[in-house]
Point group: C2
Chain length 454, copies 2
């Protein structure tokens, strides 16, 4: 192990360059015009896998391609699957970035660029650890498979069919994933649950064209007013989501889990201040801020649009309007049923005289890792050894749609070792990764390979 750790230390800068080079590729999977960039990020990853001594290939999925790589030279050792993704979210408003999102910058201990935290910086930790073992021992302590896709940010539409089709190739005792965050900066963290997701787009159209709001105002339904009413109707005065039967199957977090969560260090005022000036808590009454963001289901509008959106004034009854609305789900809420209930709720509430369309942008169930899994215990140990501190076990508010899918298709639980800072601002401007955590992450994975061999 000493040799492996020395090697990781010596290769620190070279390994960081892998991340910088990968992050420089604007592989925004949600945007058609970045299709070639997404393919480029996959090719880069494939070549890196080959370079460090894995058997690797780029495989088609029907959508963006993915990388499958493996090292299976330990016939008597168990086999694990590492999963990650090399596609990224759109940049959003570029004026909010301090630099080009795709020109990685190192500022102090931080690597700043799109993908540094989610997930390029983290997925490469597995390749850093594998390279260290292969360079120093010529082999790994366990058999490792690597599945690195490029459609996570659009909901992994082709991953489930791919995994289903390649069950034998991908067979593993557990799936290792680093695509989550740390509880606090420097606080080693295992995520034992993620929320599910249902993402919908509601479009309302009324008059054939934008109309003069003087000549026709007050006469027919106005699509922007209708969309506002529909979105507003989705919460009641207590912040509860009003989608039909939304809470019906929710399994509440246990008293024990709520107690452990409450015991973790947490300064609510500091947290709120980190999001913006004078931020106040909001949301479902009866649950703490920590609970609302992890083990409670939520509904948020992610975008709303319609009519005249530029500076100035234009007096129109807009022809159409829309909203993007996503729901975060918790264990036992069935994403398909919630999606159907959402559609039904909107259809019931939409007034006559407008045309309603509801589109889906992906859905996924929530997931919980069995707390007694031996692989989870090994991961806990690896983190403790690398950080010198017992890790937090938390639930993540975000979604990893592929966790319940891996359980279903491979019968394998997922172990989530997260190394993204709580301030990494994934999906937002100036996304960043704390470089010492990337280093400790690589060490953790290298240690985990050995612990899993036992």
């Amino acid at each position: 192990m000493e040799q492996v750790l020395s090697h990781l230390k010596a290769q620190r800068d070279a390994h960081l360059k892998w991340t910088r080079d990968l992050c420089a590729i604007p592989s925004i999977s949600t945007k058609q015009e970045h299709r070639a960039d997404v393919a480029k990020s996959v090719q880069f990853t494939h070549e890196l896998c080959e370079k460090i001594g894995l058997k690797s290939r780029v495989m088609e999925t029907g959508g963006h391609p993915l990388v499958y790589a493996e090292w299976t030279g330990a016939p008597n050792a168990p086999t694990f699957l590492a999963y990650g993704h090399v596609d990224v979210q759109p940049t959003g408003d570029l004026s909010l970035w301090n630099a080009d999102p795709f020109e990685p910058i190192v500022k102090g201990d931080w690597l700043i660029c799109r993908g540094s935290a989610d997930d390029k910086g983290q997925v490469l930790l597995y390749l850093r650890a594998a390279e260290a073992w292969l360079k120093t021992h010529g082999k790994l302590p366990v058999n490792m498979k690597f599945l690195i896709e490029a459609e996570e940010e659009i909901g992994s539409p082709n991953l489930a069919p791919f995994v289903s089709k390649h069950r034998d190739m991908l067979a593993a005792e557990a799936v290792l994933i680093s695509d989550t965050g740390m509880y606090k900066d420097g606080y080693p963290t295992l995520t034992i649950g993620t929320r599910g997701l249902v993402y919908k787009e509601v479009l309302v159209s009324g008059p054939t064209v934008d109309l003069h709001s003087g000549t026709h105002g007050g006469v027919i339904p106005n699509p922007t007013n209708v969309i506002a009413r529909l979105v507003a109707s989705l919460h009641d005065a207590d912040g509860k989501v009003t989608v039909k039967d939304f809470y019906k199957n929710v399994v509440d977090a246990s008293a024990e889990e709520r107690k452990r969560l409450a015991e973790l260090p947490f300064n609510e005022r500091e947290y709120l201040d980190s999001l913006g000036p004078n931020t106040m808590p909001a949301g479902e009454k009866g649950w703490t801020t920590q609970e609302r963001r992890s083990c409670r289901p939520t509904l948020d509008c992610n975008g709303i649009f319609g009519g005249f959106m530029q500076p100035g004034a234009n007096t129109i009854i807009p022809a159409k309007a829309g909203a993007k609305i996503s729901m975060r789900l918790v264990p036992n809420q069935n994403a398909e049923k919630i999606a159907a209930a959402f559609d039904e709720t909107i259809r019931e509430r939409c007034p006559k005289g407008v045309k309603l369309e509801i589109h889906s942008h992906g859905s996924a169930d929530a997931y919980v890792t069995p707390i007694d899994s031996p692989v989870l215990k090994a991961a806990e140990r690896a983190l403790q050894d690398a950080y010198g501190q017992k890790p937090a076990l938390i639930r993540e508010g975000g979604s990893l749609p592929i966790l319940p899918m891996f359980q279903r298709e491979l019968g394998a639980p997922s172990i989530l070792l997260g190394f993204a800072s709580p301030h990494c601002n994934a999906h937002g401007p100036n996304e960043k990764a704390f470089i010492p955590d990337l280093d400790r992450g690589a060490e953790t994975i290298a240690r985990l390979f050995q612990l899993l061999a036992k």
Copy 2:
């Protein structure tokens, strides 16, 4: 009069070319980048005034310049002021236009382009009539002043100070305006009332940057949800506007006016179908469709925006959101008071934890022309002579913010002779004018000049 009418007929094509040339200038006053085009449209109008024999000059206003022209060679005759504007609304979504909005097209009897109806096509009727009199008689039957501005579509912010400053220059018995529509195609129409306007923009900002909706969803106020709730709160279940004291000072239309309105030919189903497929009536309960669009106050969202508005999905808590909201007012609602009540209502309803800004994009009181005005009677006669039909007296749902201002500053009532088709789609795509109505409009104005001399 015969000579004047013959001249108008002979010059029909030449006069139409004036309109086409003026409409070819993209004088969008709301857009900074079209500032030079707006100035060009003013210059064009000035040169046309000079060419036909008026004394004309371009005058500064502090904003876009305007044209003032006059012919005052009839010392014993009364003096009237013709008002119009040569700026236009933005084009909106260009893909909805069948051709370039600023390349005027004649298709059958229609002139299709931005400004053909509102108001370039109509304001030029006064110059056509003046030219016909001056060319055939060397003089006009009355003294005429012409005030043609280029800021109407942004609420005429500099017109009131200008008129106030030039009261003597502009002094007139009444103001003649053609910037309204016809009750039905071919139905001569005098508009005896216009609605007032208060145009507001509400901006809500929350987190400093867009946040990951998984990590932070359910914790703090989401600006897009907040803006939806604010907009939705502005109507109750009966379609009444809930702005504080909104209806307090409303003077309802008289029973006589409602009766006359109800007697006009109106096919509601046909009207609704003309706006879009399967359109249903909506709005304030207790009033007919005709009343809701003319003599009732309304509130409409003209645009709503925030967060991720492009195709695809982005799971964010948006940093900010906004809405453009305009209210149409009726006689005795004071625009300033309504504007203040709107601000107060929004401030009261906006939840803590977001930053709220409210901006104004202009306001104007409603206006009613005294029904016993002799100038109104003369206009009724001119229309009857030109069309062979008694004109409808209606209220227009749109706003002409300058009408109460002319009354206040010049003590002059406004007479609204409208020649825009109900299908002209002013402010929308494929705006158009019915050329025979432009011809009859020019004839009406030429006849009116004579009738006003008596």
